[in-house]
């Protein structure tokens, strides 16, 4: 446990020192602020009868939908260097010579990524609370959206670290992660073309997020995100250990 804490401190320290981390964070926050403003303007421009759906459905849900897309695009930029850089620079070999195990190494890197992603989650989550000054929002729906976004972020952090653990090239890791996350996101559209296939809709992160967006807490959705994140994390540990065993 001590080596995990030491490694996490080291990784977090290094991650937060990188300009890229702050660039991604400010880019994410800036884009969400822009989306928020556009949604607000759109809502205020609507006819009165369209506003009847309420600020929660018209503004909050759309806002979190945009947030998921932003997270999908930005997370690979945060995760791409996590393991790939260490593999390329020989630092992974050094980490293997310390008491930290492969699981410690991956989990510490993942925890450091989640610290940064968590900061983005907090910024995204706090922004719509400003609505409370002028409009009633459904805090239950707000909470499920927040939970859905958190699970979505954890899943993509695990996916990104897994892709980073599979290559020495950070750019390749980012592209790989983006392709997998877009495939998961868009598989729902593939199901629309092939209505007999229920598998494609079932694995779509977009369709799994819909329940959270509507304020429905579905255990199957929570299990889906948690299990997939766990699978990605386990594959990442295996990929790191493989470079010690079979390199």
């Amino acid at each position: 446990m001590a080596s995990f804490v030491a490694l996490y401190t080291l990784e977090a320290q290094r991650l937060f020192r990188r300009p890229l981390a702050w660039l991604v964070l400010s880019l994410g926050a800036g884009m969400m602020a822009l989306f928020y403003m556009l949604l607000m303007v759109r809502y205020l421009d609507q006819e009165a009868q369209l506003r009847a759906a309420g600020v929660t459905a018209e503004l909050l849900v759309r806002y979190f939908g945009s947030a998921a897309l932003i997270v999908l695009l930005l997370t690979p930029l945060i995760t791409m260097q996590s393991v790939a850089n260490d593999k390329r620079d020989g630092m992974l070999r050094f980490l293997f010579s310390t008491p930290a195990s492969s699981a410690h190494i991956v989990l510490a890197k993942l925890a450091a990524v989640l610290s940064l992603v968590g900061l983005l989650w907090a910024i995204i989550g706090l922004m719509p609370l400003t609505l409370l000054w002028g409009a009633p929002i459904d805090l239950g729906v707000y909470a499920t959206n927040l939970l859905g976004l958190a699970l979505f972020m954890i899943l993509h952090a695990c996916l990104g670290v897994m892709c980073s653990a599979m290559t020495r090239q950070p750019v390749a890791a980012a592209v790989f992660a983006l392709v997998v996350s877009l495939t998961l996101w868009l598989s729902e559209f593939a199901q629309r073309l092939d209505r007999d296939s229920s598998v494609l809709g079932g694995i779509s992160t977009l369709s799994r997020l819909r329940g959270f967006a509507l304020g429905v807490l579905n255990l199957a959705d929570i299990v889906y995100f948690s299990a997939l994140a766990l699978v990605f994390a386990v594959i990442a540990v295996w990929a790191v250990e493989a470079s010690r065993r079979y390199a």
């Binding site: 001590a2 080596s3 804490v5 030491a6 490694l7 401190t9 080291l10 320290q13 290094r14 020192r17 990188r18 020989g90 630092m91 070999r93 050094f94 980490l95 293997f96 010579s97 310390t98 008491p99 930290a100 195990s101 010690r244 065993r245 390199a247």
Partner: protein
């Protein structure tokens, strides 16, 4: 030889695809020993060292460090190990002090002892003036010193150093050699280098690896010789009678004396030569013997049979 065994590796094997990089490598290292690890490029030195420190898995054989198996108790075993790879493992975007603190914590140094451990490693490696500087801003020599500092910051019992003096200037090389000598008194040290005189100066035992097999494993003294040149020829009999001299061989450039301890023997020889009026022109450690042995063992197409210590 009653010192405890700090590192024991038996029957190490490693394959890269179908190619066998290591075959049945045995290394035993006791406290107070400095092992010079030699071999041509591609002989398997780095692979062996990476296996010894757990950075690479062996496909056969066992490694124990300080009595702990690297397979069954990797945490306890690796806590007693310091490793400097050929390219120093550095996070160049960190400050020297921050990096050394992180390394100390990674190796299990208690939080309250980290500052003292860092200060000690920094002082031993001559890094006091650069503690607050970014590693990427340091010269190659200083970066190498930071690499050595990370290997000793947790006061390990076993040190594995791959090319420890690479990139250092002559003054720094002398300091690092002195540091290795000092560390080797209470610990077990493995140094790998292509500089044979360095091995001769530091090592108490030499292991030569060729085509993934140990072809020589013997104390340095086994191949230790002095080269002496005298104005007047005393004859082999007179030289053989000197204390500490095991063998005398005539060579075109003087006499080659095989001795147990070159430093002590050189002093004794100088005193005897002056007393006898032989006219000493030159007394040197014969570095060629190691080079000769190395070339003999590694230049042939066939690997000679291993010679046990």
């Amino acid at each position: 030889m009653n010192d405890p065994v700090l590192l024991a590796a038996h029957g190490l094997c490693r394959y890269y695809g179908a190619r066998q990089a290591l075959c049945d490598v045995d290394i035993v290292l006791r406290r107070g020993e400095i092992l010079g690890f030699l071999g041509q490029n591609g002989a398997g030195k780095s692979t062996t060292m990476q296996i010894l420190c757990g950075a690479l898995a062996a496909h056969g054989g066992t490694v124990t460090i300080g009595g702990y198996s690297l397979t069954d108790a990797p945490h306890a075993a690796k806590a007693q190990l310091g490793y400097l790879p050929e390219i120093p493992p550095l996070y160049r975007d960190m400050l020297v002090d921050d990096y050394l603190s992180a390394c100390a914590r990674l190796h299990g140094v208690a939080a309250v002892a980290v500052a003292a451990a860092v200060a000690s490693a920094r002082q031993r490696c001559g890094l006091n003036e650069v503690g607050a500087r970014l590693i990427s801003h340091l010269s190659k020599g200083y970066q190498q010193r930071v690499g050595i500092a990370q290997a000793i910051v947790h006061d390990p019992q076993v040190l594995i150093l791959d090319e420890p003096t690479a990139g250092l200037d002559p003054g720094q090389i002398r300091d690092v050699r002195e540091l290795i000598r000092e560390l080797g008194r209470e610990r077990a040290v493995i140094i790998s280098t292509h500089i044979l005189p360095e091995v001769r100066m530091l090592a108490t035992r030499i292991v030569i690896l060729h085509h993934g097999r140990v072809v020589h494993d013997a104390p340095t003294s086994a191949v230790r010789r002095l080269r002496v040149r005298l104005r007047r020829d005393p004859g082999a009999m007179a030289l053989n009678a000197l204390p500490g001299v095991a063998e005398v061989v005539a060579s075109p450039r003087g006499w080659l004396l095989t001795v147990a301890d070159p430093e002590a023997s050189a002093e004794a020889f100088a005193a005897a030569a002056v007393a006898a009026g032989w006219g000493v022109l030159e007394i040197d450690p014969d570095y060629d013997d190691l080079e000769h042995l190395f070339m003999q063992l590694t230049s042939g197409a066939q690997a000679p049979a291993a010679s046990a210590a």
